[in-house]
């Protein structure tokens, strides 16, 4: 028997087992992510629960026409994009800065505590966050009491009743909730840096800021780019937008708090108009894909750090 042949057959043998181990994951993906995509067809149908996916008449782009002709849709779209963009600007770089600062802390124990405390809010249910927000920001609540006793404001600020405050409020909540959590990935990247590089920098006479600029930042640059691209891709879904809109939105701030997620729920799912809800979501998915590809393409052009 030729020795080489034995080797390849054993290699194939190994491969087969390994490939089979991958199979469940592939099937899961197929069953739960790809097959349901077929359901998108109802966006183009007059769907009725009783008729199922295959029943119902084709209506072409009727649902989309209704959506684009709807004033509420336009206001929801505007609010979603505005809120997401503000959040991107305000909250995107915060975790990077936070990770860099945290990394410079000398006391390991203090650092650990800080990291734990800032990560915790990420795990709170939004219902709790919203209730706490409402209690603290009440006209007679603790925040207004503090502002007034410090003489910063005359009367109470109506944080929740004033439409002009809603976007800032949303971004601030995100900043508070996600900064610690977002820093984890950057901290991990920084921890992975070879200590010899730092020693070399020291020998070359680099100070703290220089070390950060020339070693730490480049080390996390690709992570920053990947997250930025993903974030831009999800601008139209906008992470916490729905939770904030649903739980903190009210009749007074409706002009700024009504976002697409709420629109879909309110006019689609709750009205049992599943086809319409699917149409709105399909629209969002398409925009999301375009944004993602555009961001990726731009990143590639600028500095070559694209995802795919």
């Amino acid at each position: 028997m030729h020795p080489r042949k034995i080797k390849t057959s054993r290699g194939w043998d190994n491969q087969l087992i390994l490939q089979l181990m991958l199979l469940p994951a592939l099937l899961t993906l197929l069953i739960f992510s790809y097959l349901p995509m077929f359901g998108i067809v109802i966006a183009f149908k007059d769907y009725n629960v009783l008729d199922g996916l295959f029943g119902g008449a084709w209506v072409g782009f009727d649902h989309f026409r209704e959506m684009f002709g709807d004033e509420r849709f336009h206001s929801a779209l505007r609010n979603t994009l505005a809120m997401s963009s503000i959040k991107l600007v305000v909250t995107f770089l915060a975790p990077v800065l936070f990770a860099l600062i945290l990394n410079e802390l000398p006391l390991a124990r203090f650092k650990k505590w800080t990291q734990t405390l800032t990560t915790l809010p990420h795990f709170l249910s939004y219902v709790i966050i919203a209730t706490l927000t409402m209690i603290f920001l009440d006209p007679k609540g603790i925040v207004n009491g503090l502002l007034q006793s410090l003489g910063l404001t005359n009367g109470p600020i109506e944080f929740l009743a004033e439409p002009g405050h809603f976007w800032t409020l949303g971004a601030s909540l995100d900043l508070w909730q996600e900064t610690g959590w977002g820093a984890i990935i950057y901290l991990a990247a920084i921890t992975g840096i070879n200590t010899e590089i730092y020693e070399a920098a020291k020998v070359d006479g680099a100070g703290r800021l220089r070390t950060i600029w020339h070693i730490n930042l480049p080390a996390i640059r690709s992570a920053i780019m990947v997250l930025l691209i993903l974030n831009i891709g999800s601008l139209i879904y906008g992470g916490s937008n729905f939770n904030q809109s649903y739980l903190l939105g009210n009749v007074f701030n409706r002009d700024t708090s009504y976002v697409l997620g709420y629109y879909t729920l309110d006019n689609g799912l709750l009205q049992m108009r599943y086809a319409f809800a699917t149409a709105v979501d399909l629209f969002q998915s398409c925009i999301s894909l375009v944004l993602l590809l555009a961001a990726n393409w731009t990143a590639k052009k600028i500095n070559g750090s694209n995802i795919f």
């Binding site: 199979l23 009749v251 006019n267 049992m272």
Partner: protein, 558 residues
């Protein structure tokens, strides 16, 4: 080395085989799950009862049989394992397997509908759109058909409205509605001073503040506003009038009461539907509604009404009242006498109604139970419902054990007869009210209300000698009206007219806060006129026409 590699390979093989086996097992257990429902589905092809031999009215069978019941309420707590359930099973042979959804979004219900795989019973809100879907899809037995075949005695037991007021467009009734407050009920409730219960919507006022200003008359809106102004000069930080109306934008229909009351509950007598000749009009056009917005606008401009009422969640609402942060509030009799945390020597008191107070009840009940054609034994199913609907059934589901010497909630006895009416022993009723769900777990009473007849169900709780409630009934009794003809007038949200209705609700949501908090009354009224104009443009008149059509069709059917 070689053997090690070999063992590694075989380990990998083992893992691979294990994972695949797990996957296959997953698939096969899926098949296993769907097997019984398939057989249930084929059950629908079995001959309808009218085709089978006419049943002779013999005593119903008590052979053990188990029915699957889907309860479309995520909060439903019981599972047929308590003493009440055991007693019912003993009497009827029926055991219920109760399942319920994880959340109240109709997801599970809709999956069952689209697969056409329904259990033996479905229990849901009588206005749940899923019920209409089941009827349209011809998935249910009609009650008349089953009752005439297998349980003719049921006609004498049910409140007469049950088979008269809930007919589908084909003239048949497809679900049995619970808690109907029909003629028989209203008469009995009046007799026992029980027309007004603890859930009656009312306004309350803080007694210490009211006494400080000499307890003036507050029986009209003007007198009330004047008193609040006086109180507020001494208690600056307090909210004059507080209500919980944050949920209006989530209203599903323009016929939801909250739309027109804007948190004033029944005080101004405003109704969502107003009858004008033969047509139904939206209450948003009515003079009563205009009184509501004028009143609220005045209150807001005098600083007696704040935005809190339209923002705060129910939790925060409750908390502010418990703290004593408000001078008066709108809630119910049961929650109308709270003790404020900042002064335990006083309490809120339920205010007498304004002359305009009017509550129109449709008395149309709450839940509906339906028997799908997939039911494995429709004969036993209807006989089971017949038993539960009877007085005997209510003894087992609600009244408990008869006797006079109370031991505890589990053993009873729970009730005795007073003047021919079953009445709870005061000791038991006190225990029950102290810990409603805890007692329910012990004895299962008060929980299996699938076919509750309000007269028999509520009867044991009525105590004509309760002076407090006698007083409340005197205060509010004459302000309550029954009008079953306006029940169930709701538009299907998936139809074009339903979409118009939703658009008007959203338009309203962008207007009412501006109307209430407008800088003066004339601005408020011009905003109101602007809203009505835009609503008409969206098709409010068409919505009203659709209501009128449903109304006429319903009343022609009866």
């Amino acid at each position: 080395m070689r053997s090690m590699r070999k063992s590694k390979t075989s380990f990998a093989r083992f893992i691979g085989a294990f994972l695949i086996a797990g996957l296959l097992a997953g698939c096969s257990s899926n098949n296993g799950d769907s097997a019984p429902s398939e057989s249930a589905a084929t059950g629908s092809a079995s001959p309808s009862p009218s085709e089978s031999a006419a049943a002779s009215p013999q005593a119903p069978s008590t052979e053990p049989i188990s029915f699957d019941m889907f309860v479309n309420f995520s909060w439903y707590a019981l599972n047929w394992s308590d003493p009440a359930a055991k007693n019912i099973t003993e009497k009827t042979g029926v055991t219920l397997n109760i399942t319920k959804p994880v959340s109240d979004d109709n997801q599970k219900m809709n999956i069952m509908l689209s697969n056409r795989e329904l259990p033996d019973f479905v229990l849901l809100d009588k206005a749940d759109p899923a019920l209409q879907r089941m009827i349209e899809g011809e998935m249910l037995y009609s009650l008349e058909e089953l009752i005439d075949q297998y349980a003719p005695e049921m006609r004498d037991v049910l409140p007469k409205e049950a088979l008269a007021n809930y007919k589908s467009s084909d003239g048949k009734t497809y679900a049995l509605v619970s808690f109907i407050e029909g003629e028989q009920y209203v008469e009995a409730a009046r007799k026992y001073n029980a027309l007004i219960g603890s859930n009656q919507p009312t306004w309350s006022i803080r007694q210490d503040y009211w006494e400080e200003i000499g307890k003036p008359d507050i029986g009209t809106p003007d007198a009330y506003i004047e008193a609040l102004e006086q109180i507020q000069t001494a208690h600056k930080g307090k909210i004059g009038f507080y209500t919980n109306a944050n949920n209006i934008p989530n209203a599903k229909h323009l016929t939801d009461g909250g739309i027109v009351t804007l948190g004033t509950s029944a005080m101004f007598g405003v109704q969502a539907l107003v009858k004008e000749g033969e047509a139904l009009k939206s209450g948003l056009r009515s003079a009563e509604y205009q009184n509501v917005i004028k009143f609220l606008n005045t209150m807001a401009n005098k600083g007696l009404l704040t935005k809190d009422s339209y923002i705060d969640s129910k939790d925060i609402f409750t908390q502010k009242i418990n703290n004593g942060d408000v001078v008066s509030y709108a809630w119910t009799i049961g929650d109308g006498t709270k003790v404020p945390a900042d002064n335990s020597n006083t309490a809120y008191a339920v205010m007498a109604p304004f002359p305009s107070y009017k509550q129109v009840r449709d008395g149309s009940g709450w839940t509906a139970i339906a028997i799908p054609k997939t039911n494995k034994n429709p004969e036993r199913a209807i006989q089971f419902l017949s038993f539960l609907s009877s007085e005997e059934g209510h003894k087992l589901t609600k009244w408990g054990v008869e006797g006079d010497a109370y031991v505890d909630a589990a053993q009873g006895p729970h009730y005795h007869m007073v003047d021919g009416k079953a009445t709870y022993l005061p000791e038991y009723w006190a225990d029950k009210q102290k810990d409603w769900s805890g007692v329910a777990e012990k004895n299962g009473l008060s929980e299996y209300w699938l076919t509750a007849n309000s007269t028999w169900w509520n009867g044991p709780e009525w105590d004509a000698s309760d002076s407090q409630f006698a007083e409340y009934n005197k205060m509010f009794g004459d302000h309550v009206e029954y009008n079953p003809s306006i029940a169930g007038i709701t538009l299907d949200s998936t139809t074009p007219i339903g979409i118009v209705e939703k658009k008007i609700i959203d338009l309203y949501s962008s207007y009412y806060s501006k109307i209430i908090f407008a800088k003066d009354e004339s601005t408020a009224m011009s905003l109101y006129a602007e809203f009505i104009e835009k609503a008409d443009k969206l098709g409010l008149a068409d919505v009203e026409q659709a209501w009128t059509d449903i109304y006429k069709a319903k009343n022609a059917n009866q």
